[in-house]
Amino acid sequence: MSVVAKNAEASHAADAHEGDYLTHSRGFLSWALTLDHKRIGIMYLIGVMTSFLVGGILALMIRAELLTPTQLFLTNKQFNQVFTLHGAIMVFLFIIPSVPAALGNFLVPLMLGAKDVAFPRLNLCSFYLWVVGLIFFIACLLITGLDTGWTFYTPYSTTTEGPVAWATMGAFILGFSSIFTGLNFIVTINTMRPPGMTWFKMPLFLWATYSTAIIQVLATPVLGITLLLLTAERLFQIGIFDPRWNGDPVAFQHFFWFYSHPAVYIMILPAMGIISELMSVHSHKTIFGYTLIAYSSVAIALFGFLVWGHHMFTSGMADVTTIVFSALTFSVSIPSAIKVFNWLATMYKGTVQLTTPMCYALNFLFLFTIGGLTGLFLGALSADRHLHDTYFVVAHFHYVMMGGTLVAFVGGIFHWWPKMVGKMYNELWGQISCLFVFIGFNLTFLPQFVMGTRGMPRRYARYLPEFQDLHIMSSTGAFILGFGLFIALGVLIHSLMRGRKAPRNPWGGATLEWHCSSPPPHYNFASAPTVNEPYDYTPLAYHDEEHGWEYHQPNVRPTPSQSHPVIAKS
């Protein structure tokens, strides 16, 4: 990195004069009408975390109800409504916008050394679309009676009572929010990279975000039209999905999963991007297999479009079709495995520091691997006959979605928190929260694999007494998991009030976001920064007095022989 000390001083003076992005201007409107990607990212972060809280409370209600085989406090109808809203809120309001919209908005321009995303107004617009979608879902919550499951399968969704049209319109609007975010990121990454940052010098988080954005742009419109047709079906009985008028309910499933399967990769790909950053930075070692990780993101994005049929093996498809879908499903595991092996190889002989983000990254590695491998059981046609619609499926996608995406999201928040708010948090309690999450998560969902293989169907409010022990284990785990996440939240809130000031570069990262102060100034970078290798840690050294990392060898150019990081032990 080119270092010019006097410029740095000048910039400090400038920072002090302008204030950082949090203090740059004040008042409610300065946030509500902001075009600053960092503030929009923070607003998204608060929004998605609130949604997660609501969805999480609903999840705990489900688990509490399932402590006994008979009714505890929810009627059958209420149970259906609770799991429907849990699913819909978690998918549409939390997981999909979590990493791309909250962390992505904050990080993409910073990692690119850009001043903002390409279309700041569109960015704000997509945030407000998210808010409108949220209002629709709150309406569903208040009206009550939405009991279709988050998938809105016809013909049940066209005949049931309840605010299905509200929910589908909410999801439709959230879809556009997602499209605009994705569109913004593609254009930003394509046109606003600084001089010297070629595609293969981009941080891997950007590759993941870019792949995600491609899915968002290509798949979400199909969900949009599907939900529009479903709304029309409910309001005018147009018959396209209704067998009464010769329509085909399975067509809805095809349309729905054509989006919603790629959407699974909208959820996991950015999480993988976070893990790539975390693994390398906290191991203080160049990422292993950069090119393969980058390509595998794109490969997952493309394969993701070809496997939607594996959700429908039992819905009635031609035998040949199911075989093709099954084979394609297996092939998705290849790029995923490439990533996992590369992360392992990154840690090998690295200087792994078990900081809170790294603990969460290791947690991710363990849980995601279980989630991914159990997916292969479901992708196998014969096994799926048995496991379809059982708790095995529930456990599988919670391992991927929650053990994968949520854990990576929390890890990412801990990693970039000092950058976002300029405060350090308590490491010990961060690590304790991770331990609770790990124990609680496995206690919740491992028993569900067992239940699933023994035939416990999903979405049932009542069950046979023989499953009670496993259900009690699972519910206990859920409360431990919830407790762990509350500790994590407490650690973050505590840091806001009591945390010591964060240095510019607390972990020793080499990507560009660590080059501006913590928190960043309003305009990030006045001119495009000089770009070096994003994972070369050779010129960085730990400075005790600042508790952070600085470049100690100005103008050092990385050479292959300098692959061992220079670490000053903290």
Binding site: V3, A10, L183, T188, T191, M192, G224, I225, L228, I240
Partner: protein, 345 residues
């Protein structure tokens, strides 16, 4: 401190030396980068639009391949003359739009305003014709599945002006009155800048009624073949063309015997789950397309206002270009819709 690459004070960007153009956003390095970003953005948006429509094209393909006889039967209720007229109108509007982009690049504000007015006018004519088509069908009960009226039971003929047409025309009529009033007010108060905006808007609103007139003229011309006592000629063809129609005829022949050969075949498709499904898809596709036309008119109106303020020049014409691309796509989608819906037989 290595890290920072912030070379000058951050507010440099706001007053930087490369700020010739008042519309250059602060976060772009130069106008070229801004233009490229916008161009890529609009192309991606068009991709999403194509995929948005693709869902309906899929539904169309699926049901048409399952029930080809329904499609043959139902498309006879669409008037190809009106469809062809509207295709021509949209093609012409694409020409004026492209011409407008050229005007913007050449700093011809006046020419740009004229081109945009013509484009808006064509959009209005299109909607006027569409209003005639929709109201005509709704009178006949050619509606989506659950509301579809079986055509062999429709006996009475609708006379005079459809109530649906009146309902459709309320908003354009209000617009027309409002814009004409605005224009007169601006003119009488010597506010030329406002008159330059109000005038084209009034023309746009008036063009809707022009479209309605065209529509009425062509619709009455095509009346005899489109229906009558179920367009006997047309139906005979269905029975001969389609194998399935023959088979169906054999099964339902008894119950529909009184109507003769042709009508017996129709009975299998002239029902909510047959032709009704066709009209569901027809209204979804053309309706969503019409919404895109209306959306396009809003942005065209915004461009028109900016054109009268002379915002565009050879360095900054991005918005005109982007709206133009969008407009061509809307046009292109209609070019697919027209043969797929109107020209089946």
């Amino acid at each position: 401190m290595s890290a920072t690459e912030v070379l000058d004070a951050p507010h440099h960007a706001e007053h930087g030396e490369h700020h010739h153009n008042p519309f250059q956003a602060h976060h772009f390095d130069d106008p070229e980068q801004q233009y490229d970003a916008g161009k890529l953005g609009i192309w991606l948006f068009l991709v999403t639009e194509v995929l948005f429509f693709s869902g309906m094209f899929c539904a169309y393909a699926m049901y048409r391949s399952l029930h080809p006889e329904v499609w043959e039967f139902s498309s006879r209720f669409l008037n190809p003359t009106l469809g062809a007229f509207n295709t021509g109108v949209l093609l012409f509007s694409s020409l004026t739009m492209a011409w407008g982009v050229r005007c913007a690049q050449l700093r011809q504000a006046k020419g740009l305003a004229i081109c945009l007015t013509l484009t808006l006018g064509c959009a209005s004519i299109f909607l006027g014709v569409k209003a005639i088509e929709y109201s005509h069908k709704w009178d006949l009960g050619l509606l989506p599945a659950s509301m579809y009226t079986i055509q062999s039971t429709v006996t009475e003929h609708h006379e005079g002006i459809s109530k649906w047409l009146v309902i459709f025309s309320i908003i354009p009529a209000l617009c027309l009155a409002g814009f004409v009033g605005w224009w007169v007010w601006a003119w009488s108060n010597n506010k030329k800048a406002i008159a330059d905006i109000a005038g084209p808007f009034a023309i746009t609103a008036a063009c809707y009624f022009l479209g309605v007139l065209f529509g009425m003229f062509f619709e009455s011309g095509g009346d005899k073949e489109a229906h009558g006592p179920m367009a006997a000629v047309a139906h005979a063809t269905v029975a001969h063309d389609s194998h399935e129609a023959h088979d169906e005829h054999a099964t339902v022949g008894g119950s529909a015997g009184g109507h003769g050969t042709a009508n017996a075949a129709d009975a299998s498709v002239d029902k909510p789950g047959g032709a009704g499904l066709f009209f569901s898809i027809y209204y979804c596709m053309t309706g969503v397309h019409a919404l895109h036309i209306i959306g396009g008119m809003v942005v065209l109106a915004w461009l028109l206002v900016r054109a009268t303020k002379n915002h565009f020049n050879e360095e900054y014409f991005g918005p005109v270009d982007y709206v133009g691309l969008y407009w061509h796509l809307v046009d292109l989608i209609w070019i697919y819709l027209f043969p797929l819906l109107y020209l089946i037989t």
